[in-house]
Symmetry: C2
Subunit: 233 residues, 2 copies
DNA sequence: ACCTGAACACCGTTCAAGT
DNA sequence: ACCTGAACACCGTTCAAGT
């Protein structure tokens, strides 16, 4: 045993260990709790010790964002079937990795083009859309919307730093009551939807519905095949 | 003249004046620059003076969020025409108010159901969707997605605190070059899209395209009219 | 190579006190 | 009613110094 006198048997200090702990801390107490000083404390070390492994807090956040894509291979989403199905699988794959750390998910969106696995999936998405007939600029817009849609499905409503699930339920219940006690003649639909707006009993169905809505929109906007495209077949 | 020795002839200290200045400061230097101490300094006053007008920074942020909806009347989006057009106009109206302060726009999303004009527009959106045949829970999901879509169209890519337009262009140019110099055989689509991904020459067209995509998706998912609905006509 | 100590310029907020 | 002063417990980060 060569463990020092840390609060618990913490891992050795290293760049990866810091990123790991930062993501775990975001999960537990929200992204606002991720602090150089707090992390140092968790490792039983001086705040400045972290600066050897990570050059600034911004760089730490970037590394956290990159971590989302680390285990992701573009080939995981099989490149078979009609393009809408492929697109759906790609978005679902992104949703899946973002769900690992919802409180830090928005860090991933900014990093997708800065890390290799992210670029691979972006490359495929763009190819898919251009092959479907979308002009380059629209394909770029749609790919960006796809990423943002995945993000929005994961982060949901609760106030930025994502509080623990326990008090989150409490907050939602308060909101539901506030909606339910609105004047019925003025807000009949809000009252009828109070339940639906404040709790999500089937998260998987919610996510799939959001993805379906997006993909259906892309399909509806697909340009009609041009003469040259037809000739190529 | 009863102006004190402030940096400039600032407005009198009041709740509204603080919210005004906070939004202006977010526009100029990003949301991270909005600080109790910084605001106090701008008003030529002690930090604690602000606590008479606003009970905490969180409450200030809430008030900033509410301000977005202040000038918005649900009747502004005329309730005529087919429901997809109405929905499109509602989203466009929200996009319009969020564009006033992009750096603070995400504060608005959390407040829509906590302020009266926000509730009015939410009520109409829910009514619209339920009348179109969507079940209550799906209508609630779609209304939420509509708001998040408006938000995502406005905030775009640049790293959270939204820097000034000047250095934003510089950052984008750096990213474009990074994309353009990627290995061409591996990332042909990213290279072809480097321009489209890093600059937006026609922002209005981008916004309209995003709204159209969303509305087209909702239309595609509209349930077929049931027998009871048909009977009601 | 890796970590510490002291210091600087910031935060939000409480509490008692002034006018 | 409205504002100040002093204080507390936090931040990120630099720089020189230790081992």
């Amino acid at each position: 045993m060569k463990t020092k006198s840390a609060t618990a048997t913490k891992a050795e200090l290293s760049r990866d260990a810091v990123v790991d702990r930062a993501l775990a801390l975001a999960d537990e107490e929200g992204l606002a709790a991720v602090t150089i000083r707090r992390l140092a404390q968790e490792f039983g070390v001086t705040p400045m010790a972290l600066y050897w492994h990570v050059s600034s807090k911004d760089e730490l956040f970037d590394a956290m964002g990159d971590r989302f894509f680390a285990g992701m291979r573009a080939d995981d989403v099989a490149s078979t079937g009609p393009w809408p199905d492929q697109l759906r699988r790609m978005i679902a794959a992104i949703v899946a990795v973002l769900r690992a750390h919802p409180a830090a998910a928005h860090l991933a969106a900014e990093r997708i083009l800065q890390c290799e696995p992210g670029r691979d999936i972006a490359e495929r998405a763009l190819g898919l859309l251009r092959d479907a007939g979308f002009p380059t600029s629209q394909a770029a817009d749609i790919a960006g919307h796809a990423l943002q849609t995945a993000l929005m499905l994961v982060v949901q409503q609760p106030g930025e730093p994502t509080v623990a699930a326990a008090e989150r339920a409490e907050i939602m219940e308060t909101k539901r009551k506030a909606l339910a006690s609105l004047p019925p003649e003025r807000y009949p639909n809000l009252i009828a939807s109070a339940d639906a707006l404040t709790n999500c009993d089937d998260e998987d169905a919610y996510l799939m519905g959001g993805i379906d809505l997006f993909v259906a929109g892309v399909q509806a906007l697909q340009p009609a095949p041009s003469a040259t495209h037809r000739a190529a077949r």
